[in-house]
Symmetry: C2
């Protein structure tokens, strides 16, 4: 039986599957995960959506280039189905999201059109800020790589110098949604590599001490 918890500053429910960390971490980071059982009728308010975009907007970037762009498609938008059609079959659950947000990385710098080697990296930073903001107000924000980037760019007039990186499903969790496959996925423990495989001290491959 999942234990629902109330995230800070909201009445939205989010099952507790906290990250298994060796020391406590900031609550929205620990409680954030990527649910798939979204409420197909719940909405996200303009103020909530704006908070997500503002969080992304104020992210740090190389040279303050701000290479990130966000293409926002709410459920009721006339072009919503065009974005949904770009999703991989395994991401069909995301059609229930109140808002889908495609993230784009501008590959060239504004001042000289030279390649910006941090374009995708910094777009990831901004997208993480959006996701943390969502977690902090009890919204689901589930980033997906499984979509047809070319089709998305063609459908929505994305210029060549921008690379679609992710589609983020934003919405509210629906604990009453019955879907055996999704429930099975959500029942599995969340996993990550041990810290010693990703964090090194002094030289590549030498693990940080426990």
């Amino acid at each position: 039986m999942e234990r629902p918890i109330v995230m800070r500053g909201t009445t939205s429910l989010y099952p507790a599957r906290p990250a298994d960390t060796s020391v406590p971490i900031h609550e929205p980071l620990a409680l954030r995960w990527s649910p798939r059982r979204l409420d197909a009728s719940a909405t996200v308010s303009p103020r909530e959506l704006r908070a997500l975009l503002e969080a992304a907007r104020w992210a740090p970037s190389s040279g303050n280039e701000q290479p990130w762009r966000f293409l926002v498609i709410p459920r009721e938008h006339p072009r919503r189905s065009e974005l949904e059609d770009t999703l991989a079959p395994g991401n069909a659950w995301a059609k229930r999201a109140a808002v889908l947000i495609a993230t784009l990385a501008k590959g060239t710098r504004a001042k000289n059109n030279e390649p910006n080697r941090w374009a995708e990296h910094d777009t990831g930073i901004a997208t993480a800020c959006l996701i943390v903001q969502a977690a902090a107000i009890g919204l689901v924000a589930h980033p997906m790589g499984g979509f047809d980037a070319g089709a998305l760019a063609r459908s929505f007039g994305v210029p060549d110098e921008y690379t679609p990186m992710a589609v983020v499903a934003v919405g509210r969790y629906d604990p009453a949604l019955h879907d055996p496959k999704l429930e099975e996925r959500e029942a599995k423990p969340r996993t990550r590599k041990p810290l010693r495989e990703i964090a090194f001290l002094g030289s590549f491959g030498d693990p940080v001490p426990d």
Copy 2:
């Protein structure tokens, strides 16, 4: 005169330069910025450092590939100067950081050695989680792109399939540090593109409504 504030859960001081947002956002995201006036003698505890790494470890990634790696070099480490030597002259201030963390993106997937097009993006996501964790406990975490990635890779034995993305200066703010150039930079307002230039509704270039 800067107004020092106390961040949640810590006694560290951090001048308040909150993001100018149209709606409130989560406090660590609003208060985070990238100071340069670091305390050259202050330390970061093993527990604090571990919290930063755990926050990054639990970030989301495409296929849960977790392409991020972190090379941690505390101030007292015998190889510290090798990392400092890779910094661009404009980042000399970062030599005062208690800990320098180089971030690396693994460009290939573990299961098949195929390129992972989200490697740099997802490393940015994990790095953002590390930065948010730092902000939440009152630590500075200032990501830098200005360093010699090739020299860093050679010095620290980084394999070819990993791309150095950033060096993050982690430490504590020193409001008493006198450095006219750094003080001048910190006195300037923080700026970002307006939301209408980065967030679009329905089609690329159509701004989200105010």
